[in-house]
Amino acid sequence: MSNMVYLMTSLPSLSLGQVPPITIDEFNDDAKRQLSVRHYKKLQSVDIQKLNAQVGVESISTFLKKLKEDLSEVREAKAQNRQAKPERMPSSVLRGNPLEREMNIIQWQWEELQDIEAGKTFTLTEVLVYKLKLQLIERLYSFDENKGAEVLASVVNPEKNMERK
Protein backbone atom coordinates (compact mmCIF):
# COMPACT_ATOMS: atom_id res chain seq x y z
CA MET A 1 0.00 0.00 0.00
CA SER A 2 2.72 2.49 0.99
CA ASN A 3 4.53 1.73 -2.24
CA MET A 4 1.34 2.38 -4.19
CA VAL A 5 0.95 5.71 -2.34
CA TYR A 6 4.55 6.62 -3.10
CA LEU A 7 4.13 5.71 -6.78
CA MET A 8 0.88 7.62 -7.26
CA THR A 9 2.11 10.72 -5.45
CA SER A 10 5.33 10.75 -7.48
CA LEU A 11 3.50 10.63 -10.85
CA PRO A 12 2.46 13.81 -12.65
CA SER A 13 -1.26 14.45 -12.85
CA LEU A 14 -2.96 13.75 -16.17
CA SER A 15 -5.47 15.70 -18.18
CA LEU A 16 -6.81 14.83 -21.61
CA GLY A 17 -5.43 16.93 -24.45
CA GLN A 18 -2.18 17.80 -22.71
CA VAL A 19 1.34 16.93 -23.90
CA PRO A 20 2.12 13.57 -22.26
CA PRO A 21 4.01 14.55 -19.06
CA ILE A 22 5.62 11.12 -18.88
CA THR A 23 6.07 8.26 -21.34
CA ILE A 24 4.59 4.81 -20.87
CA ASP A 25 8.12 3.41 -20.58
CA GLU A 26 9.02 5.90 -17.84
CA PHE A 27 5.79 5.08 -16.05
CA ASN A 28 6.49 1.33 -16.34
CA ASP A 29 10.02 1.83 -14.97
CA ASP A 30 8.67 3.75 -11.95
CA ALA A 31 5.92 1.19 -11.39
CA LYS A 32 8.36 -1.71 -11.63
CA ARG A 33 10.45 -0.17 -8.88
CA GLN A 34 7.50 0.50 -6.57
CA LEU A 35 5.01 -2.32 -7.15
CA SER A 36 5.12 -5.93 -6.09
CA VAL A 37 5.78 -8.50 -8.80
CA ARG A 38 2.13 -9.61 -8.69
CA HIS A 39 0.82 -6.07 -9.09
CA TYR A 40 3.35 -5.19 -11.74
CA LYS A 41 2.30 -8.28 -13.71
CA LYS A 42 -1.30 -7.04 -13.62
CA LEU A 43 -0.15 -3.61 -14.72
CA GLN A 44 1.71 -5.13 -17.64
CA SER A 45 -1.36 -7.01 -18.81
CA VAL A 46 -3.68 -3.99 -18.83
CA ASP A 47 -3.74 -2.32 -22.23
CA ILE A 48 -6.46 -0.13 -23.72
CA GLN A 49 -4.94 -0.47 -27.18
CA LYS A 50 -5.12 -4.26 -27.25
CA LEU A 51 -8.34 -4.24 -25.19
CA ASN A 52 -7.07 -7.07 -23.05
CA ALA A 53 -9.94 -7.89 -20.67
CA GLN A 54 -7.97 -10.29 -18.42
CA VAL A 55 -6.58 -7.67 -16.04
CA GLY A 56 -7.67 -8.87 -12.60
CA VAL A 57 -9.74 -5.78 -11.75
CA GLU A 58 -13.34 -6.42 -12.63
CA SER A 59 -14.45 -2.87 -13.37
CA ILE A 60 -11.57 -2.41 -15.82
CA SER A 61 -12.01 -5.88 -17.34
CA THR A 62 -15.72 -5.23 -17.91
CA PHE A 63 -15.01 -1.81 -19.42
CA LEU A 64 -12.42 -3.17 -21.86
CA LYS A 65 -14.58 -6.19 -22.73
CA LYS A 66 -17.63 -4.02 -23.45
CA LEU A 67 -15.53 -1.56 -25.42
CA LYS A 68 -14.29 -4.39 -27.62
CA GLU A 69 -17.83 -5.70 -28.09
CA ASP A 70 -19.13 -2.24 -28.93
CA LEU A 71 -16.42 -1.69 -31.58
CA SER A 72 -17.34 -5.06 -33.03
CA GLU A 73 -21.04 -4.09 -33.08
CA VAL A 74 -20.24 -0.80 -34.86
CA ARG A 75 -18.34 -2.71 -37.57
CA GLU A 76 -21.04 -5.33 -37.89
CA ALA A 77 -23.74 -2.67 -38.20
CA LYS A 78 -21.77 -0.89 -40.91
CA ALA A 79 -21.32 -4.12 -42.84
CA GLN A 80 -25.04 -4.83 -42.53
CA ASN A 81 -25.90 -1.22 -43.39
CA ARG A 82 -27.90 -0.63 -40.20
CA GLN A 83 -27.78 1.67 -37.21
CA ALA A 84 -25.19 0.52 -34.66
CA LYS A 85 -26.50 -0.27 -31.16
CA PRO A 86 -23.48 -0.31 -28.87
CA GLU A 87 -24.19 -1.50 -25.34
CA ARG A 88 -21.94 0.74 -23.27
CA MET A 89 -20.64 3.32 -25.66
CA PRO A 90 -23.15 6.14 -26.34
CA SER A 91 -24.19 6.31 -30.02
CA SER A 92 -23.51 10.05 -29.97
CA VAL A 93 -19.73 9.43 -29.92
CA LEU A 94 -19.99 7.75 -33.32
CA ARG A 95 -21.02 10.98 -35.05
CA GLY A 96 -18.72 13.08 -37.20
CA ASN A 97 -15.78 12.25 -39.44
CA PRO A 98 -13.31 9.49 -38.49
CA LEU A 99 -11.09 11.93 -36.55
CA GLU A 100 -13.99 13.47 -34.63
CA ARG A 101 -15.36 9.99 -33.92
CA GLU A 102 -12.03 8.76 -32.61
CA MET A 103 -11.64 11.85 -30.41
CA ASN A 104 -15.18 11.39 -29.08
CA ILE A 105 -14.39 7.76 -28.26
CA ILE A 106 -11.19 8.78 -26.46
CA GLN A 107 -13.11 11.44 -24.49
CA TRP A 108 -15.76 8.88 -23.54
CA GLN A 109 -13.09 6.32 -22.55
CA TRP A 110 -11.43 8.98 -20.40
CA GLU A 111 -14.70 9.73 -18.62
CA GLU A 112 -15.38 6.02 -18.08
CA LEU A 113 -11.91 5.58 -16.59
CA GLN A 114 -12.50 8.52 -14.26
CA ASP A 115 -15.70 6.85 -13.08
CA ILE A 116 -13.82 3.59 -12.53
CA GLU A 117 -11.10 5.20 -10.42
CA ALA A 118 -13.48 7.34 -8.37
CA GLY A 119 -13.08 6.47 -4.68
CA LYS A 120 -10.18 4.09 -5.45
CA THR A 121 -7.34 6.36 -4.36
CA PHE A 122 -4.00 4.63 -3.84
CA THR A 123 -5.30 1.28 -5.03
CA LEU A 124 -4.18 -0.97 -7.86
CA THR A 125 -7.23 0.22 -9.80
CA GLU A 126 -5.92 3.78 -9.71
CA VAL A 127 -2.50 2.63 -10.95
CA LEU A 128 -4.04 0.62 -13.78
CA VAL A 129 -6.33 3.49 -14.74
CA TYR A 130 -3.33 5.84 -14.73
CA LYS A 131 -1.65 3.66 -17.34
CA LEU A 132 -4.80 3.52 -19.49
CA LYS A 133 -5.25 7.29 -19.25
CA LEU A 134 -1.61 7.82 -20.16
CA GLN A 135 -2.13 5.60 -23.21
CA LEU A 136 -5.11 7.76 -24.22
CA ILE A 137 -3.12 11.00 -23.79
CA GLU A 138 -0.22 9.63 -25.82
CA ARG A 139 -2.57 8.47 -28.53
CA LEU A 140 -4.49 11.75 -28.74
CA TYR A 141 -1.18 13.64 -28.83
CA SER A 142 -0.05 11.55 -31.81
CA PHE A 143 -2.88 12.89 -34.01
CA ASP A 144 -1.17 15.37 -36.32
CA GLU A 145 -2.51 16.81 -39.57
CA ASN A 146 0.85 16.99 -41.36
CA LYS A 147 2.07 13.59 -40.22
CA GLY A 148 -1.30 12.09 -41.11
CA ALA A 149 -1.10 13.59 -44.60
CA GLU A 150 2.39 12.10 -44.95
CA VAL A 151 1.09 8.68 -43.91
CA LEU A 152 -1.69 8.90 -46.49
CA ALA A 153 0.78 9.97 -49.17
CA SER A 154 3.13 7.11 -48.30
CA VAL A 155 0.37 4.59 -48.95
CA VAL A 156 -1.22 6.31 -51.90
CA ASN A 157 1.96 6.30 -53.92
CA PRO A 158 1.58 5.30 -57.55
CA GLU A 159 5.15 4.05 -57.82
CA LYS A 160 4.92 1.86 -54.77
CA ASN A 161 4.07 -1.83 -54.80
CA MET A 162 2.57 -1.71 -58.25
CA GLU A 163 3.11 -4.70 -60.41
CA ARG A 164 1.43 -5.05 -63.78
CA LYS A 165 -0.21 -8.28 -64.56
Binding site: R75, P98, R101, S142, F143, A149, V155
Partner: protein, 202 residues
Amino acid sequence: MAGIKIKYTKTERARQKKILKVSERMLPLFEAMEKSLMATINTISDRIEQLREEIEKNRKAAEAWTAVMSDSWVNINEFISVNKIITKTIDVAGVRVQQYVKVDFNVMPINDDTPLWVDDAIELMQEQLQLLAEIECLKEQIDLLEEELLDVRARVKLFENRRIPNAKLAIRKIGQKLQDDERLTIATAKVVKTSKQREGKI
Protein backbone atom coordinates in the same frame (compact mmCIF):
# COMPACT_ATOMS: atom_id res chain seq x y z
CA MET B 1 14.36 13.34 -106.59
CA ALA B 2 17.87 14.69 -106.90
CA GLY B 3 20.37 11.91 -107.22
CA ILE B 4 17.79 9.30 -108.19
CA LYS B 5 18.39 7.70 -111.55
CA ILE B 6 15.30 7.47 -113.71
CA LYS B 7 14.93 4.80 -116.33
CA TYR B 8 13.31 6.54 -119.26
CA THR B 9 11.19 3.65 -120.36
CA LYS B 10 7.49 3.07 -120.78
CA THR B 11 7.70 0.27 -118.18
CA GLU B 12 9.21 2.67 -115.67
CA ARG B 13 6.54 5.25 -116.41
CA ALA B 14 3.86 2.62 -115.80
CA ARG B 15 5.57 1.65 -112.53
CA GLN B 16 5.71 5.30 -111.38
CA LYS B 17 2.04 5.77 -112.27
CA LYS B 18 1.20 2.77 -110.13
CA ILE B 19 3.23 4.18 -107.22
CA LEU B 20 1.41 7.52 -107.59
CA LYS B 21 -1.99 5.84 -107.65
CA VAL B 22 -1.29 3.76 -104.54
CA SER B 23 0.28 6.72 -102.70
CA GLU B 24 -2.67 9.01 -103.46
CA ARG B 25 -5.00 6.31 -102.18
CA MET B 26 -2.95 5.68 -99.00
CA LEU B 27 -2.37 9.31 -98.02
CA PRO B 28 -5.97 10.05 -96.95
CA LEU B 29 -6.01 6.82 -94.96
CA PHE B 30 -2.91 7.80 -93.02
CA GLU B 31 -4.27 11.32 -92.55
CA ALA B 32 -7.48 9.85 -91.13
CA MET B 33 -5.43 7.57 -88.87
CA GLU B 34 -3.43 10.58 -87.65
CA LYS B 35 -6.64 12.46 -86.82
CA SER B 36 -8.12 9.43 -85.07
CA LEU B 37 -4.98 8.90 -82.97
CA MET B 38 -4.86 12.57 -81.99
CA ALA B 39 -8.54 12.53 -81.00
CA THR B 40 -8.05 9.35 -78.97
CA ILE B 41 -5.01 10.78 -77.18
CA ASN B 42 -7.02 13.91 -76.34
CA THR B 43 -9.90 11.83 -75.01
CA ILE B 44 -7.54 9.79 -72.82
CA SER B 45 -5.84 12.98 -71.58
CA ASP B 46 -9.25 14.37 -70.61
CA ARG B 47 -10.03 11.15 -68.72
CA ILE B 48 -6.69 11.42 -66.86
CA GLU B 49 -7.58 14.98 -65.91
CA GLN B 50 -10.99 13.82 -64.64
CA LEU B 51 -9.36 11.08 -62.54
CA ARG B 52 -6.84 13.55 -61.11
CA GLU B 53 -9.68 15.88 -60.15
CA GLU B 54 -11.43 12.97 -58.46
CA ILE B 55 -8.26 12.11 -56.50
CA GLU B 56 -7.93 15.73 -55.41
CA LYS B 57 -11.62 15.83 -54.45
CA ASN B 58 -11.20 12.70 -52.29
CA ARG B 59 -8.03 14.11 -50.75
CA LYS B 60 -9.74 17.39 -49.87
CA ALA B 61 -12.75 15.55 -48.46
CA ALA B 62 -10.43 13.53 -46.22
CA GLU B 63 -8.29 16.52 -45.22
CA ALA B 64 -10.51 17.14 -42.20
CA TRP B 65 -9.60 13.78 -40.69
CA THR B 66 -6.15 12.85 -42.03
CA ALA B 67 -4.64 13.79 -38.63
CA VAL B 68 -5.95 10.51 -37.26
CA MET B 69 -3.73 8.62 -39.71
CA SER B 70 -0.70 9.45 -37.59
CA ASP B 71 -2.31 7.47 -34.74
CA SER B 72 0.53 5.97 -32.69
CA TRP B 73 -1.52 2.81 -32.21
CA VAL B 74 -1.80 2.01 -35.89
CA ASN B 75 0.58 1.52 -38.76
CA ILE B 76 -1.85 1.79 -41.66
CA ASN B 77 0.85 0.66 -44.12
CA GLU B 78 0.49 -2.81 -42.67
CA PHE B 79 -3.21 -2.93 -43.45
CA ILE B 80 -3.22 -2.29 -47.17
CA SER B 81 -0.94 -2.73 -50.14
CA VAL B 82 -1.36 -3.29 -53.86
CA ASN B 83 -0.84 -6.84 -54.99
CA LYS B 84 -1.46 -6.47 -58.72
CA ILE B 85 -3.07 -4.19 -61.23
CA ILE B 86 -5.33 -6.29 -63.43
CA THR B 87 -5.54 -5.15 -67.06
CA LYS B 88 -6.85 -6.52 -70.33
CA THR B 89 -5.58 -6.06 -73.86
CA ILE B 90 -7.79 -3.98 -76.13
CA ASP B 91 -7.49 -2.26 -79.48
CA VAL B 92 -7.57 1.54 -79.40
CA ALA B 93 -7.33 3.35 -82.76
CA GLY B 94 -5.61 0.30 -84.20
CA VAL B 95 -3.05 0.02 -81.39
CA ARG B 96 -2.99 -2.82 -78.87
CA VAL B 97 -2.99 -1.36 -75.36
CA GLN B 98 -3.65 -2.47 -71.79
CA GLN B 99 -6.96 -1.35 -70.32
CA TYR B 100 -7.39 -0.98 -66.56
CA VAL B 101 -9.78 -3.53 -65.05
CA LYS B 102 -9.21 -3.44 -61.27
CA VAL B 103 -6.62 -3.43 -58.52
CA ASP B 104 -6.03 -6.56 -56.51
CA PHE B 105 -5.32 -5.43 -52.93
CA ASN B 106 -3.67 -7.15 -50.00
CA VAL B 107 -5.90 -6.10 -47.08
CA MET B 108 -5.03 -7.33 -43.62
CA PRO B 109 -8.01 -8.58 -41.59
CA ILE B 110 -9.31 -6.00 -39.11
CA ASN B 111 -9.53 -7.15 -35.50
CA ASP B 112 -12.01 -5.92 -32.89
CA ASP B 113 -9.29 -3.92 -31.15
CA THR B 114 -8.43 -2.00 -34.34
CA PRO B 115 -9.56 1.64 -34.16
CA LEU B 116 -12.64 2.40 -36.26
CA TRP B 117 -10.92 5.01 -38.42
CA VAL B 118 -8.80 2.26 -40.03
CA ASP B 119 -11.88 1.04 -41.94
CA ASP B 120 -12.44 4.52 -43.40
CA ALA B 121 -8.75 4.94 -44.22
CA ILE B 122 -8.64 1.61 -46.05
CA GLU B 123 -11.72 2.60 -48.09
CA LEU B 124 -10.15 5.96 -48.97
CA MET B 125 -6.79 4.42 -49.84
CA GLN B 126 -8.39 1.75 -52.02
CA GLU B 127 -10.34 4.41 -53.89
CA GLN B 128 -7.24 6.58 -54.41
CA LEU B 129 -5.02 3.65 -55.41
CA GLN B 130 -7.62 2.46 -57.94
CA LEU B 131 -7.81 5.92 -59.50
CA LEU B 132 -4.01 6.16 -59.62
CA ALA B 133 -3.73 2.71 -61.18
CA GLU B 134 -6.20 3.72 -63.88
CA ILE B 135 -4.16 6.88 -64.55
CA GLU B 136 -0.99 4.79 -64.90
CA CYS B 137 -2.69 2.50 -67.43
CA LEU B 138 -4.00 5.48 -69.40
CA LYS B 139 -0.55 7.12 -69.41
CA GLU B 140 0.92 3.95 -70.85
CA GLN B 141 -1.83 3.94 -73.48
CA ILE B 142 -0.90 7.50 -74.42
CA ASP B 143 2.78 6.52 -74.72
CA LEU B 144 1.94 3.72 -77.14
CA LEU B 145 -0.51 5.87 -79.11
CA GLU B 146 2.02 8.71 -79.38
CA GLU B 147 4.59 6.26 -80.67
CA GLU B 148 2.11 5.14 -83.32
CA LEU B 149 1.20 8.77 -84.06
CA LEU B 150 4.86 9.60 -84.76
CA ASP B 151 5.05 6.65 -87.13
CA VAL B 152 1.86 7.67 -88.95
CA ARG B 153 3.02 11.31 -89.20
CA ALA B 154 6.31 10.13 -90.70
CA ARG B 155 4.35 8.14 -93.28
CA VAL B 156 2.10 11.11 -94.11
CA LYS B 157 5.18 13.28 -94.62
CA LEU B 158 6.82 10.58 -96.72
CA PHE B 159 3.81 10.41 -99.01
CA GLU B 160 3.22 14.17 -99.11
CA ASN B 161 6.83 15.30 -99.55
CA ARG B 162 8.59 12.40 -101.24
CA ARG B 163 6.61 9.62 -102.84
CA ILE B 164 3.85 11.59 -104.57
CA PRO B 165 6.03 14.51 -105.80
CA ASN B 166 8.78 12.10 -106.89
CA ALA B 167 6.38 9.89 -108.81
CA LYS B 168 4.79 12.93 -110.48
CA LEU B 169 8.18 14.32 -111.46
CA ALA B 170 9.36 10.95 -112.76
CA ILE B 171 6.22 10.52 -114.84
CA ARG B 172 6.62 14.02 -116.30
CA LYS B 173 10.32 13.58 -117.11
CA ILE B 174 9.85 10.13 -118.60
CA GLY B 175 6.94 11.50 -120.66
CA GLN B 176 9.05 14.38 -121.98
CA LYS B 177 11.96 12.08 -122.75
CA LEU B 178 9.77 9.58 -124.54
CA GLN B 179 8.15 12.40 -126.52
CA ASP B 180 11.56 13.82 -127.43
CA ASP B 181 12.74 10.36 -128.52
CA GLU B 182 9.65 9.95 -130.65
CA ARG B 183 10.15 13.36 -132.32
CA LEU B 184 13.80 12.55 -132.93
CA THR B 185 12.89 9.24 -134.51
CA ILE B 186 10.33 10.89 -136.80
CA ALA B 187 12.72 13.69 -137.75
CA THR B 188 15.51 11.19 -138.48
CA ALA B 189 13.17 9.11 -140.60
CA LYS B 190 12.14 12.22 -142.54
CA VAL B 191 15.78 13.20 -143.11
CA VAL B 192 16.61 9.70 -144.31
CA LYS B 193 13.58 9.68 -146.58
CA THR B 194 14.47 13.08 -148.04
CA SER B 195 18.11 12.03 -148.58
CA LYS B 196 16.99 8.89 -150.37
CA GLN B 197 14.64 10.88 -152.58
CA ARG B 198 17.47 13.27 -153.51
CA GLU B 199 19.78 10.41 -154.28
CA GLY B 200 17.10 8.91 -156.55
CA LYS B 201 16.69 12.14 -158.55
CA ILE B 202 20.42 12.39 -159.08
